[in-house]
Chain length 136, copies 2
């Protein structure tokens, strides 16, 4: 099996077979890997969710971000119910093969609270402050 360490010294532009890279990913005991979604236009980090190998392939093939919902124990094409779809523009795997970055076009708010993103609890040394309001 490929060790991602072997890729570290490769020059940019070098390509590898997708299947061998997916085999080298470090999924957790539930077969999942954390995926961070960033808005490609605003650069806001919108959310963190989880993917398995099938969700990664679905996202790459369909261009529509598909996560695996740990609470509902099923695939979750973001926006399928809410209409707040995430179109994948670019996907990156990290050096250690244990996390994913998605650059996306987000339709409407990414957060279920109707805020643009999920990271709205600003945390300081003594308190936490709500830092944004839902989009009207």
């Amino acid at each position: 099996m490929l060790d991602l360490k072997e890729l570290e010294s490769s020059a940019s532009g070098t390509t590898f077979d997708l299947d061998s890279i997916l085999e080298a990913l470090k999924f957790n005991q539930d077969g999942l890997i954390p995926a961070v979604a960033q808005d490609i236009d605003t650069k806001e980090v919108l959310m963190l969710a989880w993917m398995d190998a099938k969700a990664i392939r679905s996202t790459l093939e369909e261009g529509q971000v598909c996560y695996y919902s740990r609470s509902r124990k099923t695939y979750w094409k973001k926006g399928e119910e809410s209409g707040h779809k995430q179109k994948m523009v670019e996907m990156y795997i990290d050096c250690d093969g244990d996390s994913i970055l998605l650059l996306v076009n987000q339709e409407g708010p990414a957060c279920h609270t109707n805020r643009s993103g999920c990271f709205y609890l600003k945390t300081e040394s003594d308190k936490v402050m709500i830092s944004s309001d839902p989009i009207k």
Copy 2:
């Protein structure tokens, strides 16, 4: 115990006690939560690592990002050995209390390969391409 759902409808600017929020976080079975570091200037998503409650408090108190290394099973003040320190500027917790976003000032490359960030394996439907080179 506080349920973070109770905070969803709070207006921006509302504050809560740090301890009660930390108690409500959903750490995994190892007591860890994923933390995403984003460069506050370039907006690049640099890396994803893990924190426990003590690492969160250390980061908030010292302003120097402290992770918990799962491989070395110990605290890891980013840059302590490499010199490539991460200064925490802002910290956010997400709506579900199961992930953290750090906005940071990064000294030098964030990735151990000397690339600016760890997400350099650009993943497409049939191949993966190295998308950046180490900083000289």
